[in-house]
């Protein structure tokens, strides 16, 4: 990785070769198979890829919330604000980190909120458990404040309502409130807008941008929607079959995608004004993660496949400053 002349601040989140497996009856799924990424304070990293590529597993691993008992982290390192997250005890994770320094917003706001508790109770939970507000009055004030930050109207009354009394967009705001309540350093948003109307999506994105500007938190935004990624992220990591295949500045990636998979993803997005008779889908299926092929995992579907691609997995090559791709084709680039 090329370093800029003036030493930048160390990254907020540094993930190195993270590996997480799911032990199932039919075999061991290598869901996260050597993922490395970095997020700096104040910036948003987009994590892009198709369903099943391991995006959700990666962020669950970061929070150490892999499904039990099948999921386990088997290798790699995760450093958040200098601390080795994988070495913390479970109690420490819960007390100091989850919800406090690192938090998450899920995809489906209906299922990620407990239906039998009030919004106020659930949004107040992080305050209570991290000792940031003691006593009913203080917690209510804190809840009211954060509900106001996510622009839920009449927070004083609405916090005594239940999730089913909120609309989809409001629910996602409430879930976001839970996540940002204790001003985390890193926020992970797992497809936060895919279940919402387009107009609401725009509002949510604006909200996240504002919160980031206010608090300087780093964000990982998982999405399969390249448009959203373009709008919100400064850098993008493209994931395929358990590994990161391309990372770089968002503009670089969109203008000069180096990995054939990224190119195919971008090519498959229909553009207004473009005359195309057919949508370009990527033929084939991702490989099984129980027994992945030894070479490049995209080779079977790649239009520019070479013999070399099946032999060995390509390392990360530098395509441009800050832009890397794991493709043998990138070796030839200067």
């Amino acid at each position: 990785m090329t370093a800029a002349p003036s030493t930048p601040a160390p990254p907020l989140l540094k993930v190195e070769q993270l590996q997480a497996h799911l032990v199932l009856r039919r075999g061991v799924v290598r869901a996260v198979d050597g993922v490395s990424l970095e997020v700096n304070a104040g910036e948003t990293l987009g994590l892009v890829g198709e369903s099943g590529c391991g995006k959700t597993m990666t962020i669950l691993a970061l929070l150490r919330l892999l499904p039990r008992p099948a999921g386990r982290i088997v290798g790699g390192a995760v450093h958040l604000d200098g601390t080795d997250v994988l070495a913390l005890s479970e109690a420490e994770m819960a007390r100091e980190w989850r919800g406090r320094k690192i938090s998450m917003v899920s995809q489906d706001p209906l299922t990620s909120l407990n239906p039998v508790f009030t919004i106020g109770d659930q949004v107040g939970a992080p305050f209570r458990y991290h000792g940031l507000a003691q006593g009913r009055g203080a917690v209510r004030r804190a809840v009211r404040a954060v509900l106001g930050r996510v622009r839920i109207p009449s927070p004083e009354t609405r916090m005594d309502h239940y999730p089913h009394q909120f609309s989809g967009g409001m629910r996602q705001r409430a879930a976001s409130a839970m996540a940002i309540a204790c001003s985390p350093r890193l926020l992970i948003a797992d497809e936060p807008t895919s279940n919402l109307d387009v107009t609401i999506q725009v509002q949510m994105m604006a909200l996240y941008r504002d919160v980031q500007r206010e608090t300087g938190l780093g964000m990982i935004l998982i999405t399969h929607d390249l448009g959203i990624a373009a709008g919100l992220c400064s850098r993008v990591a493209v994931m395929y079959a358990g590994r990161i295949v391309e990372t770089g500045d968002v503009r670089d990636i969109y203008r000069r995608p180096a990995h054939p998979y990224t190119q195919a993803l971008l090519g498959s997005v229909p553009r207004l004004g473009q005359k195309q008779r057919r949508l370009q889908a990527i033929p084939g299926q991702p490989p099984s993660l129980i027994d992945p092929p030894p070479g490049c995992r995209f080779a079977a579907r790649c239009p520019r496949r070479m013999a070399r691609c099946d032999e060995a997995y390509p390392p990360d090559f530098a395509v441009a400053p800050g832009h890397r791709a794991a493709c043998w084709l990138a070796e030839e680039r200067p």
Partner: protein
Amino acid sequence: MLGYLSRRLLLGLVSIMGASVLIFAVSRLSGDPIVLLLPVEAPPALIAETRKAMGLDEPLWTQYLIFAGHAVTGDFGNSYRWQTPALTLVLERLPATIQLAAAALSFSIAIAVPFGVLSAVRRGSWFDTAAKAFALLGQAMPSFWVGLLLILLFAIRLNWLPAFGHGTWAHLVMPAIALGWYPVAAQTRVVRSAMLDVLDSDYIRMGRAVGAPERVLIWKYALRNAAVPLVTLLGVYLAAMLSGAFIVEVIFAWPGVGRTVVEAVFSRDFPVVQAGVFFTSILFVTSNLLVDLSYSAIDPRIRHG
């Protein structure tokens, strides 16, 4: 919410009325109660007179209406055996049955909830296996057998608890356990299954993601959700429990409605049988209504339609 409740209330009333018809109809099945009351050799004049005196010469419809009319005013007739109003006999004994059923229910919930929760949380452990086995066995054991075994062990062999009678809490222990045995087993399975579902849910994962301690997650956030299917099924177990109460009362000589009705059946004391079963029915319908009420208290989605 009010509409929901009043609908349930109405249904309950209809059920009770219908039950009274059913009970009346069945008890007239034998055709002629006179035959059972008077000796076979009774002279026809006496038979006719008794029949007229008891209103049994009227058509069945009229008899039912008279019965219902009296029932509404609380007159179920006099016990053939004791010559006191059947209603009084039944109402005097109803509290004892309610006490027994309530004790059994409390016992069952007090055991089933922790066992079910721990079983789910420690899925696959020896505790889980033992709890599952116990639940399976418990659902196959008749309550009266459990009662007899308890008497054998605790009253006869160990002499810790009294085998019969009523009065102190010591008298309540064995009957409550015997009666609550089947519900404990069934409810443990329900709680376990519900908890397993809930613990897998997104909102529990979200709770973990904001740093809630595991203890709070399980006993506050997860349990409240798991309680919903438990309460839903409570109504079913109540019926089984009221049925079981009849036998348990007989075994432990518990002075409740059940024992009275059983004795009345043997002595062909129809008014008492009718009154007793009718009030058991009312008890059942009422407790179902209470269960419905608590259901809407636990699950706010019901409250708001």
